[in-house]
Symmetry: C4
Subunit: 214 residues, 4 copies
Amino acid sequence: MATEHSGKHSGPEHALERLVFFSDAVFAIAITLLVIEIHVPRLPPGSTNQDYFVALAHLIPSFFGFFVSFWVIGAFWTVHHRAFSLAAHYRDSLLTPNLAVLCGIVFIPFATAFMAANTGMLVPQALYDLTLIVCGLLHLRLNRMVTSPPVVSEQADPLTIALTRVRGWSVTLGAACALAIGFVDSHYSQVALITIPLWRILLQRRTRRRFPAA
Amino acid sequence: MATEHSGKHSGPEHALERLVFFSDAVFAIAITLLVIEIHVPRLPPGSTNQDYFVALAHLIPSFFGFFVSFWVIGAFWTVHHRAFSLAAHYRDSLLTPNLAVLCGIVFIPFATAFMAANTGMLVPQALYDLTLIVCGLLHLRLNRMVTSPPVVSEQADPLTIALTRVRGWSVTLGAACALAIGFVDSHYSQVALITIPLWRILLQRRTRRRFPAA
Amino acid sequence: MATEHSGKHSGPEHALERLVFFSDAVFAIAITLLVIEIHVPRLPPGSTNQDYFVALAHLIPSFFGFFVSFWVIGAFWTVHHRAFSLAAHYRDSLLTPNLAVLCGIVFIPFATAFMAANTGMLVPQALYDLTLIVCGLLHLRLNRMVTSPPVVSEQADPLTIALTRVRGWSVTLGAACALAIGFVDSHYSQVALITIPLWRILLQRRTRRRFPAA
Amino acid sequence: MATEHSGKHSGPEHALERLVFFSDAVFAIAITLLVIEIHVPRLPPGSTNQDYFVALAHLIPSFFGFFVSFWVIGAFWTVHHRAFSLAAHYRDSLLTPNLAVLCGIVFIPFATAFMAANTGMLVPQALYDLTLIVCGLLHLRLNRMVTSPPVVSEQADPLTIALTRVRGWSVTLGAACALAIGFVDSHYSQVALITIPLWRILLQRRTRRRFPAA
């Protein structure tokens, strides 16, 4: 089923742009909805400054969850952004894997709020980590399609392709670490997500070594 | 009333792009709002892992509703995406039918939440199925306009046009099945929505047979 | 302060596109948020079909408010879409009047929910009508700027400009009618918004008569 | 790590556009979410017009917070819009500072709602002002990157660059004033945000004087 045909607004390039655009909007909404789940404290009149600090202190798990999930969704968007910047040819077969990634991303605000409302508990923490792992795996599948023929641009550099693919692994591995640590002590599980950039640096260094010319 | 006139940013192409863009944003927000309607359980301190599993089990209808509606809105977006990828000429007359489709899409998160909050009940289930049927019928009308002169691109392939039009029927027929089954047993109504891809395959096979050259 | 300068992504055209894009996103979110304000009824187990119909009947003001506001925001978007399709030159001075319009649009979901939660009461109804009137007047100011030099495209047809400007009046006049009727009987106020398309047809017919060549 | 390579949809320009697009969507959602935080009053049947006016009067802090934050986010968007209208070359290093700005912007609806729910209290007011200061400082860092080589367009005018950079300071200085005044009397803190346009005019006049040729 070849749906490619010429014409200014009906060609494959416009279809690719619209796919990217729709995905961007979903990422943007998911990343902004995170803040809605933080309940605004309304204190009775006559509360002291200390009461307000206590109210804010109770929200620390929510703030932390918001902050971590913001950067996790941001990292997923970055991976999506990089992979599609290497694509040049639209294919209908991209739609379903892309929707699957977005379905995972859209679920992150719920998983974040559930975790933040029940800090330090195993089940909410494990659900959060599992959500990130599933998002990561779905992203890996999409990235492989986007950076392979027939979708990938002919001008795309093999090293850039390899670095982009490897990047998708970093969130997945960081979330897997967080899940493993969660079974030992669920309070430290979320901290393990900080390993995401470490995994990226490690994996990218390994990838570069295999490209001697670069 | 011919509003087509030349000029880089004031021409019909830009107007078509903006229409598509606005629609994409509405689809993206509707698909993401689905997750807001899932209430985050907040358990008292000292709850066991089993309590958390029970709390999540109570949310299964919400998760299922979220998941089904995500893919239904995704299917509607795909139909919209395909139809407009065949369009090349903007007409003012597209605005009202397109807004009508979006009005239906925007209502889906409410219908989903109402159904999920009252699982297995006839009225919420029927309202959900009716919403999808109305969305499907409004989409069929829009698709016909978009894939007909004067809007359709001159380079658009007749088989692609026929396949795109037929695609709009699949959600409508799947939702009609769900509605019919709902009157017998409302618990199985939503399962009938899984027939949507079956209808699409069936209808597309039938369409292809009528295009011997393709 | 001339901020126009050449360059592919830094020129006035891209700045105009981004302004339109940002506005589209705000319109899209405001139009979709309308549905969030409808509270999802959750009935106790054992409720009959009739109980569900009663629950839905109680939501009729909310449904009606959602539907009317969807089309009102849709009408405002259409006016914005048409006006900017005639624009070709970006000016910094567009930013503030455009933000003022968006500020009004973003307030519509609140005014709608307040009116729907207190059906038939004068104050919520008058606040709603006033919001639409203010949005309409702000739109008229923006439209005049967008369809005048130096912003308007040189190729824009004078009749199209006149028709676009007149269109902005229809929502304002319809809302003014609704406000006036509201002081007599607030139950019929919202019905008066149906006069919006009548005003448009009337005003456009009058405009056309003044352009003998068209 | 040079990720620039030619190709229509895979080049640096498209990547820059997508970055701007994603940011626009986040700004648009944050600015629209402000209205969600205003609780819709639902009065018992038989309430008089005066009861409604009292209910609205209780919302004045929320309306004021909505209005101020709308224009503050609008001001930040304007700064972002102007800075990126001078950019021409995409760099991967833009992603993190841009996400940092967006993280601050997304937090504004929470800070606004917290301040409006607890009017005249020091801690919520200080948190709000601090949020704006952090957003302003993050924006300054981003603006400097965007308006410097290698990102900035070669055709960008030095005066325009200087005026754009200075603009970022106005929100930061206005919020710093508000914070300082808040420690004296927290009721007048928000009023000090009105100095934002004054700071802009002052800073821009000073900048212009240093460019004798302009």
